[in-house]
Every structure is written in C-alpha cells, then in structure tokens.
C-alpha cells in the first residue's frame, strides 16, 4: 500500500494536483509514519504554497533533508532566525550545510535579508564553488557588488568539479547499470538528479568512492537480475526537476545518496520546488520494467534513441558510438537547451543530463569509448560554462553600471541566446541606465513582440519582468498612450504582480496626478515589501507633492532593502536640494556616484549642490566631468554656464551657451539665459533678440512672465531694478 500511495503522490506532484497529493500523503503518513514520508508531505505543502503547514510538521526534525525543507519553510514565512538555526545548528563547528549548494544559497539569502552582507557574500561564494551552475548565487553576488570576474567563477576549476561529478556518475552507472536512459523524459530528469546530487564535491567524492569500490547496499534495495556483470544496484533517492517533465512511468532508477536535494534547492528557493522522492522499496514491477527496457536496449545496441525532453517537444537522436556524432549531438542538445527561455539552471541541468544519458549509453554500447565520453563530457561542460561566463560578465558589468561594457559583452552571445527575453531585458536595462531611452524602448518592444509570437502565456512573464523598466522608459519618452495601454494590458494579465502597479503608477505620474500614482505604488509595496524600486518611486511621488519628510522616509526604506540602489540616493539628494540642505545633498550624490560612477545626471546635480555650498571650483570640475561622461547630455553645459554667470564670468558663460544653442536650438531656457548674460554685458540688442526667441519657444507661464519682465527692464536703467524674482 505504501508504494502505491507513494507513486500516486509523486505522480500527482508532477501533474500539479497538489491538493490530491496532500490528501494522499496525509493518509500515507498516518499509516506509515516515517521521516521520509514527513518530508514528502512537506514537499506537497510547499508545492501548494502552504509554507506554514510544512513549517509545523517539520519542526524539530533532524535529518539534513528535513532541515533544509524546514529552513525553506521558515524563509517563506519570514522567520529568518529559525531558518538560519535549522541550516547551521551549531556555531562551534561547521556542520555540513544540508542541501549542498542550495543550502548555502538559501543561507546567503537569509543573511542578505537580515542585512548581514559579508556573511551572505561568503555563503553565495560557497554555493558557487559547490555548484558552478548556481547562477542565482552569482546574480546575488553581482547585486551585492561583490562578484568576481565571471571567468574565475565559471572557470576550469568549476569545469573540473562538474566533470568529476559527471564522471563519477557515469562510472557508477556502468557498475550499477539500471539506467534506462532511453525512453522517458523522466529518464533525463532522473539523470539530472544524479548530476546534481553530487554537487558537494567532498562528500560526494567519498560517496562515489565507496560506491565504486563496493557499495553498501541496504538489504532492501532491489536488484537487477538481468545484468550478469553488474549486480549492484543503488537506490536512488533524489529529487527530480518536475518543472518541465511529464512523468508517466515511475522512474525506475534509484540511486542512494544522503538524501540531499542538491541543486534542486536552487529552484525551490524560488518557490518552484517540486522535488520527488523515490522510496527505497520500489515495486518489483518497476524493476522488471526497466529490466525489460535494458534488454531491449542491449538488443538495439548501436541504435539508441535518446529522448530530449524539454517539457514540450521530444526529439529522438540516433546515437552512434563514433565520436564525431557525439559532439554535434551534444551541441544540438545544448542548442535546444538554449532556446528555452526559462532559468538557465534548468536547461543546463537537462543538457548535462542528456549528455550524461548519451554518454552512458555510449558507455554501455561501447565499452571502449570511455575516452570519447570524457571528451564529449568535457566539451559539453565547457560549452555551458562559456555561456555562463559571458552572461555572468554581462550581468556583473550591468550591476556595476558599466553599461557600455555590458552591451559589448552581450553582443558576444549567439543569436539564439541573445533573443531570449532574459538577455534582451538586460540589454534594455543597460540602455535605460545609459539614458538612451529610444534604444531601450526598441529593445523592450522587440521583446514584447517576440513573445506575442510565441504563446500568449509567456507575454505575462515577460511583461512582469520588464514592465517596470518599460513603463519608466515610456514615461521618460512621455508616451502617454503607450504607457496607458501597457498598464491596461498588465492589469488584465495579472493584478497580483507589483510590476503591474508600478506601470500603472507611472501612467498617473506622467499625467501629473501624483496622489493616485502614490496609491498605485503603495499597492505594489503591499504585494512585495522588498521591491526596492516601488519604494523609490513612492519617494519620487512624495517629492513631487513636496512632502519631503515622507519622501525621505521612503527613500531610506528603499536603501535599507538594497544599499546599492543608487536611485534612492539620488532621490535623497534631490530632496535635500529642495530643502536647501546643500551639504547633505552633496553627500547623497557622492554615495550615488560611488555606485554608478558614470551617470552624468547625478554629476550635474552634484555640481549644483557644490555650487550652492559655495564650492565653486569643485562644482565646475564636476560639470566638466559630466560633460565628458555623456556627450549627448546637453545639461552639464547649461548648468556650467549658469554657474559661470552667477560667478560673474559672463564671457565664458556666453561662449558655452553659444555652443549649446547650436546643439539644442529649441530650448527656450538657453536663450533666456543668454539674454540675461547679454544684458549684463550691456549688449542690449542681442539681449532683446534672445529674449524674443526664448518667448517664441513656449516657455512655462511663470518663465514667460519673467522674460517679459526682463525685456521691459532692458529699457529702464539698472538702478530701478528691484527684483526678488530675479
């Protein structure tokens, strides 16, 4: 009965029938209480987003896997302290963190949320060393500003590490040889599991050695009877990524390990954990089935189809023992991986698994081909690592705001990889940070169209990812209609995503309805407390409403979540500028510049703050820097001219403005300032000319009034001037 229930539960989990799975698992647990079954029930709860239930049932369990799941539930419930204790029970000696790389990654996140930056960096680095394919850990390191070069992380060392695990797997396969890599997609998933279980090199090496030299087979493992030369079988208790697999047959492969969920934890941290457990007592029918398959396979020696499952399509590749076929088949499989636009981890897992499977088949059908396998294995690993290297580099550059470098790096990717939404989104973000809103707009529109060619469902995913940026871009380009349309589209697709409400808020903000915009941003915050940008946008709206205390509070909250969010520093600086606290303002702009040293806008404001604090030389230097930093930005020259005019250096100011006038002929403030300067230089004709032009260029009403006042006073001698307005 137990096996039946177990199989049912696993099947239900794989087919997303969570409530059914929970029910069955509860019966199972009631009848056969054991820690394993408890873990299974916890998995069911977590899949159904009931972290609190998982928390209660796992409280106090000691097994590593249970501790990992318990820590995960605590993390979901925001009980960071308990989660940490679960993962690291004692501080005196460092026990093995359950879950391997995934455990370290979870710990890193916990530390990050708690604000312990150095510990979190350490944990993420551990995670990466254990599993080089733990991309998210690298991403977190980038956003913390502590990432090393991608080439060191995804380097030969990691390649060796991956190789070892693959090789070990392979060797044990040859000895155990229950592997049925042929038919099912679960096969591939199983293998994926296998690779990942061996992530912690130290322990896994030991494990493997033991297994290689003589496994200690628990008496209840079942044996492959057909295999004469290989009599040892390992039970497999590993999770498999149910994410993209459709598993109809129970996975026949059992591999015993320490019940570490390994890299699957990666995805689990993102709330998508669907781990499968295969119990030790697999039914005999399964053994027979796989035995049957094996015999079929032996018969079909040289023509072994391999299923590549990507959830949607399966392809069959014929494998021949010849080396030349391996590399293309591998690369084509990897190529298939690339098309999938979900997390790289999944795809690379699968590629490795598929590679593993074909490697294993080769091993099986061609006992002399071990060197060929090694080669194909190595080349496969290096391809994946190269890909991750490029992406890692680009990501790191982007988060250090070296946008130009990031763009160059991303150009190195192949067409297929470049056209995935993740990469395009990064590219769009790079353009956005460069203030190149037109290009950003085109990239984001490309993504938008790109996905509407695919399935409508993926639109929503893409929209959430880039909607906040797209809405900001559109706001900057002042495209009300498009922004409104985007906002409506988003609301109809998903009301529960904070990005949706950010887009709507940007709509209102564009129309200057700041109070409603504020409400929208607050909704976004309610949906996700840790959405830094929503806090910053709230701050911007408060500042626009001139409620500077609230604005400051919002900016500080954003900074408490993420100190590297330079927009919040910028916002604080602007607030202090409005409040005329120029020294404070200057400090904030300095902080912002430390994070994003190439932003000419921030440099401009820093210069203004310096000028107002009477540090005029520094101000002028800062303006020079700004001019050089971004040649397309006309404002530093304008501000420079303004500062010079205030200092009395009218000739220099005039020169700068004359240049600027040619670059930006439609800007009324340039002409107005020129008029003022000519007035000071007593060149009244030119002054009148420029004031007239300024008026023609549609200034705001208060400016228009000012300019007219200036014109009038040109006629009147200077002594009669009594302007506070000026």
């Amino acid at each position: 009965m137990e096996n039946l229930l177990l199989n049912s539960v696993e099947k239900n989990l794989s087919q997303f029938m969570f409530t059914n799975a929970i029910f069955l698992c509860q019966r199972l647990l009631a009848q056969f209480p054991s820690e394993v079954n408890l873990q299974l029930l916890a998995r069911c709860y977590l899949s159904n987003s009931q972290a609190y239930s998982a928390y209660y049932i796992l409280k106090g369990s000691k097994m590593p896997q249970s501790r990992y799941l318990f820590a995960f539930s605590c993390f979901k419930l925001d009980l960071l302290g308990e989660a940490e204790t679960a993962l690291l029970p004692s501080k005196e000696y460092i026990e093995e963190v359950p879950g391997g790389a995934a455990g370290h990654y979870l710990l890193g996140l916990i530390y990050r949320y708690a604000g312990r930056k150095n510990s979190s960096i350490q944990q993420f680095r551990m995670a990466l060393s254990l599993d080089p394919l733990c991309w998210e850990a690298y991403g977190e390191l980038c956003s913390l500003g502590a990432a090393e070069e991608a080439s060191t992380v995804f380097s030969n060392v990691s390649s060796h590490c991956l190789q070892k695990t693959c090789v070990a797997q392979k060797v044990s396969f040859s000895e155990g040889a229950i592997i049925d890599q042929l038919t099912d997609s679960d096969k591939a998933s199983k293998d994926a599991r296998l690779w990942q279980t061996e992530d912690a090199p130290g322990e896994s090496q030991q494990d493997l050695k033991i297994k290689q030299f003589g496994p200690d087979i628990p008496p209840d493992t079942y044996r492959q009877l057909n295999n004469s030369s290989h009599t040892n079988v390992w039970d497999l208790k590993t999770p498999s990524p149910v994410l993209s697999q459709v598993l109809d047959a129970p996975p026949p492969l059992l591999y015993k390990n320490m019940r570490r969920p390994a890299v699957e934890g990666l995805m689990s941290v993102h709330g998508e954990s669907r781990r499968k457990y295969v119990s030790e007592e697999m039914s005999a029918e399964v053994a027979e089935e796989s035995g049957r398959r094996r015999s079929a396979r032996i018969a079909a020696r040289k023509k072994i189809p391999i299923s590549q499952s990507f959830g949607k399509d399966s392809q069959w590749l014929h494998l021949s023992p010849s080396e030349s076929n391996y590399v293309p088949s591998l690369s084509s499989m990897i190529g298939k991986c690339k098309i999938q636009s979900s997390k790289e981890a999944t795809t690379s897992d699968q590629s490795i698994s598929d590679r593993g499977s074909c490697v294993n088949d080769d091993e099986y059908s061609n006992p002399n081909g071990s060197s060929a396998d090694r080669f194909s294995l190595v080349s496969g690993i290096s391809e994946v690592l190269n890909l991750l290297k490029i992406l890692g580099d680009g990501h790191r550059h982007l988060l250090m705001y070296n946008c130009q470098e990031a763009l160059l790096v991303y150009q190195k990717l192949s067409q297929k990889q470049y056209n995935t939404h993740w990469v395009l989104m990064q590219v769009g973000k790079a353009y956005f940070e460069l203030q190149d809103y037109f290009n950003a707009d085109s990239v984001f529109t490309l993504v938008h169209q790109h996905c509407s060619l695919y399935r409508p469902a993926s639109i929503s995913m893409l929209l959430f990812c880039f909607s906040d940026f797209l809405s900001l871009v559109l706001k900057h380009l002042k495209e009300e209609m498009r922004l409104g349309y985007l906002a409506q589209e988003l609301i109809s697709v998903d009301r529960l995503s904070p990005e949706t409400w950010c887009a709507v808020g940007n709509c209102y903000s564009l129309r200057k309805d700041h109070e409603t915009a504020l409400k929208m941003f607050q909704r976004a915050i309610q949906l996700n407390e840790r959405f830094t940008y929503a806090h910053t946008l709230c701050g911007h709206e408060f500042a626009a409403l001139e409620e500077f205390e609230y604005a400051e509070r919002c900016y500080r909250r954003a900074l408490s979540i993420d100190t590297r969010h330079y927009n919040a520093w910028y916002g604080l600086g602007m607030t202090y500028l409005h409040l005329e606290k120029y020294e404070f303002a200057q400090n904030q702009f300095q902080m912002a510049l430390q994070i994003n040293p190439r932003s000419s806008v921030i440099m401009c404001y820093s210069g203004i703050a310096l000028h107002e604090s009477k540090r005029n030389d520094e101000a002028l230097k800062m303006m020079e820097k700004a001019i050089i930093a971004d040649t397309k930005n006309p404002l530093p020259k304008y501000y420079k001219a303004n500062i010079l005019a205030n200092l009395g250096d009218y000739h220099k100011a005039k020169k700068v403005l004359e240049e600027l006038k040619d670059c930006a002929p439609q800007e009324s403030s340039v002409h107005a300032l020129l008029g003022k300067i000519y007035k000071q230089l007593k060149l009244y004709d030119k002054a009148v000319l420029h004031f007239g032009t300024a008026l023609d260029l549609n200034p705001s009403p208060s400016d228009a009034a000012k300019i007219k006042a200036y014109m009038e006073r040109l006629i009147v001698p200077d002594e009669l001037e009594t302007e506070e307005n000026l």
């Binding site: 900001l472 002042k478 806008v601 439609q666 403030s669 300032l673 260029l697 009034a705 000012k706």
Partner: protein
C-alpha cells in the same frame, strides 16, 4: 472699487476645478500650505468645510458684513487663480454677490487687487488674480483675503461651499532660473 465685467451667469462646472487643472499643467493647488481663517461662523459650518472637497458642506458666516476669509502662507507665494464654489439655486439669499480680493503682507497692509460682482452663479467661479499687464500674471504675496461685501437679495450671512487657490508649479530642478521646455533637456533632467 473697479467694477470689472460682472461675471454674470457664471456657469459653474460641477467639477470645474479639476478640469481647469488639466488644461494648465503648470498650475497647482496652493491651499495646503496655508492657514485658513474666517471672520465668523455658525457652529457646525466652520472653516473646515471650505477645504473638505465636499460640495454639500458649506461655511456659513454669523456676523456683520463684510465677511472675511483669510489665507495666510508661510512664505511669499505666487498665485494666479482663485476658484469659489457657490450656488444660487441652493443658497439663494446666502449667495455672495460682491466679492473683493485683497493681498498683502498681513492684516495691516492689505490692498485690494480684484473686485467682482456675481449674478446668480451656480458652480465654480473663477477669479483671476492677474493684472492686465502680461508681467503681472501672478500675485506674489504672503496673504490673501477674500471679502464678501454683499449677498444676493440683501442677505446678511453668506454660504460658500468650497474655495481653491492656484499658483504656478515650481521648477522641478531647484535653484535654476528657468524651466526646461525641450524633450531632450527634460529627459536628462531627472532620473527615476
């Protein structure tokens, strides 16, 4: 007392205040930063009703004419428009008829800047503070006083349902002499 074009039959827009706001993007309501007071009021119909965004509630005076509404700012502000919501159909003899607007530094040096006569108004009445001179689009002042000199049908006390005061938006970039107009300048002027 200059009798300007008596704003006769001022067709009020029910939500006219907001409509006007949309037309002129560069105006914003200034009343939030001011201290509001009245010369007299009936209990239950006090000064708060003038600012509660509710057209059902009204302020009712309780003394001798002229009835005064004082709006005092903490620093000199530029003001351009005053909107008053009155309704002859509902208030009849309580509806103000002659309104005078005064400005100055304080109670001691108020000077009249505008005077109007209303004839059976129903809705938002716009009182522009600009002078004829284009240089004088705005009034730069510490204090504004709205005086109700007389009512329709010689009523003694007056009802006013809502008052809004508008001035220009400040330059979003602090400490700059002029605002930017072209798209290029504006894109580079802020970060989000």
């Amino acid at each position: 007392m200059a009798t300007e074009s008596s704003e006769s039959e001022e067709e009020g827009k029910i939500r006219g205040g907001n409509d006007k706001l949309n037309i002129d993007d560069d105006l914003r309501e200034m009343g939030k930063n001011a201290a509001w007071s009245v010369s007299s009021c009936k209990p239950g119909n006090g000064v708060a009703t003038l600012r509660d965004d509710n057209l059902e509630t009204y302020w009712q005076s309780d003394g001798l004419q002229p009835h005064l509404i004082n709006i005092q700012f903490q620093k000199k502000v530029k003001l351009q428009l005053v909107f008053v919501y009155v309704d002859f159909k509902l208030d009849e003899s309580y509806t103000p008829s002659r309104i005078s607007i005064r400005a100055g530094d304080g109670f001691h040096n108020l000077k009249e800047i505008k005077s109007v006569e209303l004839v059976k108004p129903t809705g938002w009445v716009c009182l522009s503070l600009s002078g004829t001179d284009p240089r004088e689009t705005f009034v730069n002042t510490f204090m504004l006083q709205i005086a109700i000199l007389s009512n329709h049908l010689n009523g003694r006390d007056t009802h006013i349902r809502q008052i809004k005061v508008y001035g220009p938006r400040p330059n979003p970039i602090p400490r700059q002499p002029f605002q930017f107009t072209s798209a290029e300048f504006l894109t580079y002027s802020t970060l989000r």
